[in-house]
């Protein structure tokens, strides 16, 4: 991934500078297909993408992440997943950790889908630690059957 270098001297305010930086990051993440779908070792959460005529289904393995700690945002054809996985039990207070394989921390991933999403019909469900996003394509992009009329 390219490094992000920006000169903020022209920015009039810090919030604007941050908004601009966040846009850049967002764009890079979304455009970087290698990062999104291949060679994904070390990336959390792992996702799968299924496609049908009417839309996409994106699933993500997020064990132990409460729904309130998952943020899903959609903008055009870009879906962003972010949040935090908290591991509540820490050492101390009479608790000893013998093995710690489960990772905690923040996560953020953006995906650019090949087609725009119908925002009003998009749906997110969370079950058994798996997040499922139902992302119907915009109505204009869905295949339609045109009846042939006889004059």
């Amino acid at each position: 991934m390219n490094s992000i270098n920006r000169n903020f001297t022209n920015e009039t305010s810090l919030p604007r500078a941050f908004a601009s930086l966040s846009r850049d990051l967002h764009r890079q993440l979304a455009n970087d297909r290698n990062r999104s779908f291949r060679g994904t070792r070390g990336v959390f959460p792992a996702v799968n993408l299924h496609e049908s005529d009417t839309g996409y289904v994106l699933t993500a393995e997020l064990p132990g992440v409460a729904p309130e700690n998952i943020d899903v945002s959609i903008e055009g054809a870009t879906v962003t997943l972010s949040g935090e996985r908290k591991i509540e039990r820490v050492a101390g207070d009479g608790v000893a950790v013998h093995r710690r394989e489960r990772q905690s921390g923040t996560f953020r991933r953006a995906f650019e889908l090949p087609a725009e999403i119908d925002l009003d019909a998009a749906k997110a469900t969370h079950k058994n630690g798996v997040l499922t996003l139902d992302l119907p394509k915009s109505a204009a992009l869905q295949p339609r059957q045109i009846p042939v009329e006889t004059p």
Binding site: R41, H50, E61, G64, R89, V95, R99, Q103, G105, G129
Partner: protein
């Protein structure tokens, strides 16, 4: 410019177990945390996609065996795939001081929490000193 950042997750790919099983399908080795509280051992295991009813736990001859199956709920093949769906298997050697009758297990958001209370004899005890 530096930011006060949270640590970002560095997840590992699910480890597929190579077994001489006769069962079809993939089996993964789940990530676990093993903790010890004053009166119990606690095992937390990541089993994404698994229902409570799909988890089987056995304690036999000092070995605790965890088996689970995550049902594949997708109807079409994935266009992109980063993870695969299958079963989970892992074994733990458990110390002798477990009160086997009071082992409990619960599932929440795809994480299994196993509580293995220590037997009464092995719990830390406070002995008060009496004045003679």
């Amino acid at each position: 410019m530096t930011y006060p950042t949270h640590r970002e997750i560095e997840a590992r790919e699910k480890d597929a177990l190579v077994t001489e099983d006769t069962r079809p399908g993939l089996v993964f080795r789940p990530d676990v945390d093993i903790l010890e509280e004053p009166d119990a051992y606690v095992i937390m295991a990541d089993l994404p996609g698994t229902n409570e009813s799909d988890v089987e736990i056995q304690l036999d001859k000092g070995v605790l065996t965890l088996d689970a199956v995550a049902p594949d709920e997708t109807s079409s093949p994935a266009r992109y795939a980063e993870y695969r769906v299958g079963g989970y298997h892992r074994e733990f050697r458990i110390s002798e001081d477990i009160d086997r009758a009071s082992v409990t297990a619960k599932m929440r958001h795809g994480v299994l929490e196993l509580r293995l209370p220590k037997s009464a004899e092995s719990r830390p005890r406070r002995i008060s000193v009496e004045a003679a």
